[in-house]
């Protein structure tokens, strides 16, 4: 098959156009955060830093950031421990049901968020009789963050093999010493990459969060959702949106540098 020059150029133009459409809306949000219009008007009637100042003084927004950071840190910590354990179990051992367990950890991001959300809401409220709080959000987030740690750690374990650990054991090191001095240093990059991705995933999550957050628990995405429809709040929301993108892109960039598996999942 020989593609004509015209076809090649046409395909290139289509691709370029699609990429423009992909990035244009994000650029519009960035510009709107500096615009003097409160109604998202285009072209922006003027330039102002008022919204950035207001966003950084807004107590609601700052509280929401702290809540999100707390949720993300605790759920990342849980995900790190559980994800690492399960990666070792699935990579170093062959046993009946291994594939099923691997699927089990991927399920929370494979099913639509609303199914995970209502299942957990129902579980906490109806079955356990636990009122929703910040901790129910943490449990929900940890559940779907495990997979990012799992993906990174298991990929690294597959590459590094077990010969160094065997050598360490032959030289007389115990299980714990081998882990501390041989296995862990090799895993550090994968753990950091997994943790950053888990943090970003939790920091952004909205659907499962709306189903598991108690009243009064406002994460940053919930804050955005609540303020989006208020008149005059639109530019402040744009500022927070820009911050949110930066907060999630920077860890990803670092994770990519570390050579982790950065394929995101929902």
């Amino acid at each position: 098959m020989r593609l004509s020059r015209t076809t090649r150029i046409a395909l290139g133009v289509v691709t370029a156009l699609v990429l423009v459409v992909v990035y244009l809306p994000l650029a519009v949000v960035l510009v709107n955060s500096f615009s003097t219009s409160t109604a998202l008007a285009w072209p922006p009637p003027g330039f102002t830093l008022e919204w950035w100042g207001r966003a950084f003084q807004s107590e609601g927004a700052l509280d929401a950031v702290l809540t999100s950071v707390l949720v993300a840190i605790v759920s990342t910590a849980i995900a790190l421990v559980l994800g690492t354990l399960v990666s070792f179990a699935l990579q170093r051992f062959a046993f009946f049901g291994r594939d099923a367990i691997s699927l089990l950890f991927i399920l929370p991001i494979a099913l639509p968020g609303i199914v995970t959300g209502i299942a957990l809401n129902n579980f906490f409220r109806t079955i356990m009789g636990v009122p929703l709080s910040i901790w129910t959000v943490v449990i929900a987030h940890a559940t779907f963050c495990i997979v990012t740690v799992f993906n990174n750690v298991i990929a690294r374990l597959r590459r590094q093999g077990t010969s160094l650990e065997e050598a360490s054991a032959d030289l007389g090191a115990g299980v714990w010493t081998t882990f501390r001095l041989v296995t862990f240093p090799q895993l550090r990059g994968a753990l950091l990459a997994g943790a950053l991705l888990a943090f970003a995933l939790s920091f952004d999550e909205i659907i499962v969060t709306t189903f598991t957050a108690g009243s009064g628990v406002t994460t940053l995405p919930i804050y955005i959702l609540n303020n989006m429809f208020r008149p005059n709040q639109a530019p402040v929301v744009s500022v927070i949106a820009v911050v949110l993108v930066l907060v999630s892109i920077i860890p990803i960039a670092i994770a990519q540098k570390l050579g982790g598996d950065t394929k995101p999942g929902r």
Partner: protein, 296 residues
């Protein structure tokens, strides 16, 4: 030279027990994570199914754990649920079609026309927006589509108008959100088609169009279906985008959310949540024979 045997401390004894008993090691590793997932997730999913057959006492607002078909019957026969289900499936299908129509030429360009260097750059450019928050992207389209927004400004010279907030906006925004998920598997599919096969087809006299239709399409078809699974299932469960750009329209997700929150009827909400689950499994069963599930 002799090396003194390590002192038989408790840690040392534990360590040698562990190294000679792999089953114990496995059990220690796997118990906590699997217990977490089984309790928090599997039990929750199963109970979601069970709850759909319970009901809410209209006096006390408490849940009655007696088996009833009422919720299922209401969801299947109620006019509201039928309309909303049709609307949701329609939106999901449209989103999927739009995404495939856009993704196929882009993925083909990336895999077969662009140089290796540009292909890598394009993959990063396609992947990057996935990491921008879902909410931010939906909000971005709210800005773009607003009555005074950039789209209105761009279209006015051509005598056209922004579609504003409504179902069209929902389709545009959802198609935007899921596009990378559709491009990536299709790109992988095109990459697996060897160039030599395209040349052979050309040498045997097939025109470009015939090669695409008879050689490339059958090979890439499973990847295209894999991409549609993402856009279709993610659209079915969505309710935030509809809130943000959909005007007053409701999708299945909204009905679930209202019944969990304001109406406080979890059994009915669970029954409604079963609709997208059944549709997705139906779709998966339908496309299973194409081998698409191995391309996810």
């Amino acid at each position: 030279m002799t090396i003194a045997a390590p002192r038989p401390t408790l840690a040392r004894r534990l360590s040698s027990t562990l190294s000679t008993h792999p089953r114990v090691r496995l059990a220690l590793l796997i118990t906590a994570p699997v217990a977490w997932m089984a309790i928090v997730y599997i039990v929750a999913l199963v109970l979601l199914l069970v709850t759909a057959f319970w009901s809410v006492d209209s006096f006390t607002g408490q849940i009655t754990t007696e088996f009833t078909w009422d919720n299922i019957v209401e969801v299947v026969t109620g006019a509201l649920y039928q309309t909303v289900t049709l609307r949701t499936v329609g939106v999901a299908l449209l989103v999927t079609i739009v995404d495939v129509v856009i993704a196929v030429p882009v993925a083909f360009f990336m895999a077969k026309v662009a140089s290796a260097r540009w292909e890598r750059i394009l993959i990063v450019l396609v992947l990057l927006p996935l990491w921008a928050s879902y909410l931010v992207k939906a909000y971005a389209w709210r800005s773009v589509l607003s009555q005074e927004g950039i789209l209105q400004w761009l279209l006015t010279p051509f005598g056209l108008e922004t579609p504003g907030y409504g179902l069209t906006a929902v389709v545009i925004t959802l198609a935007y959100l899921w596009l990378p998920y559709v491009i990536l598997p299709i790109h992988a599919g095109f990459s697996r088609v060897p160039d030599s096969m395209l040349e052979a087809s050309g040498d045997l006299g097939a025109k470009s169009w015939a090669t695409l239709r008879l050689v490339v399409l059958p090979l890439v078809w499973p990847s295209i279906i894999a991409g549609t699974i993402f856009s279709f299932s993610l659209s079915l469960g969505d309710y935030i985008t509809v809130n943000i750009v959909g005007g007053a329209n409701q999708m299945l997700g909204n009905l679930v959310y209202t019944n969990v929150g304001a109406a406080n009827n979890l059994p009915l909400a669970s029954a409604i949540a079963l609709i997208p689950i059944v549709i997705i499994f139906g779709y998966l069963a339908l496309v299973r024979r194409t081998g698409a599930l191995n391309n996810l």
